[in-house]
């Protein structure tokens, strides 16, 4: 089982994910978290200015653009997502050496519940530290 971050979710949705991620998705072995899903949605839709993704999509055919934006905003059923009803009791029981924000606590709790490895695109020292404390496999995929 693999728990992927928001950027890996983005590349999976845009059909540019590494083969190992695509294979795992096809087997029903890929999950993400609510925080990563929410952060991706915010990054795609709430940006402004020249760097915003949505402004770059303006050049696309309207039907394609709407389809792409819909696929980025709605999590495909092939990606698993644990509910907060299940995750929060584990989040509050986490015993790690360094304080966590919500995103990191949710990721660590979900990984424990799923017995999953955490795969990220950008190394996050606090998340890595918590994963080490809890003996969770932590991988950075470029």
């Amino acid at each position: 089982m693999i728990l992927i971050d928001d950027q890996l979710l983005l590349v999976a949705l845009s059909d540019t994910a590494p083969a190992e991620i695509n294979t795992a998705i096809a087997r029903g072995e890929v999950f993400t978290t609510g925080s990563w899903y929410y952060r991706l949605s915010r990054a795609v839709t709430a940006g402004s200015g020249a760097g915003a993704l949505s402004s770059r999509f303006q050049a696309l055919d309207e039907a394609v653009r709407l389809g792409v934006l819909a696929s980025l905003g709605e999590l495909p059923e092939e990606i698993g997502l644990l509910s907060l009803r299940v995750v929060v009791p584990v989040m509050q029981a986490l015993a790690v050496t360094r304080p966590l924000n919500f995103l990191n606590a949710e990721a660590l709790a979900a990984a424990l519940l799923l017995d999953a490895a955490i795969a990220v695109t950008v190394d996050a020292p606090l998340l890595r530290s918590g994963a080490t404390d809890l003996a969770i496999t932590y991988t950075v995929i470029g």
């Binding site: 949705l13 096809a26 993704l53 990606i79 698993g80 029981a93 924000n101 919500f102 519940l113 017995d115």
Partner: protein, 74 residues
């Protein structure tokens, strides 16, 4: 599912209860199994790749984290 060795007893109990609850509600597997059917055209795929490559995504994360530290990369 394997029980992880060395977890704090309180945490291990919370994980066991959570797994049982998730299994009962069918959350331990995705709602559908199989490859994702992408809605992306080649052009849209290139736009996303360029956005990531030129740092647009990371700039968006910085802006998001400034407004909500609970979503920050730390």
């Amino acid at each position: 599912m394997a029980t992880r060795q060395g977890l704090d007893a309180n945490l291990a109990a919370a994980v066991a209860r959570g797994r049982a609850r998730a299994a009962a509600s069918g959350e331990l597997t995705p709602p559908r199994v199989g490859p994702i059917q992408s809605a992306f055209s080649d052009e849209a795929r290139k736009i996303v790749a360029d956005w990531r490559r030129d740092g647009g995504y990371l700039r968006a994360l910085v802006a998001i984290a400034e407004a909500d530290p609970d979503l920050a990369v730390q």
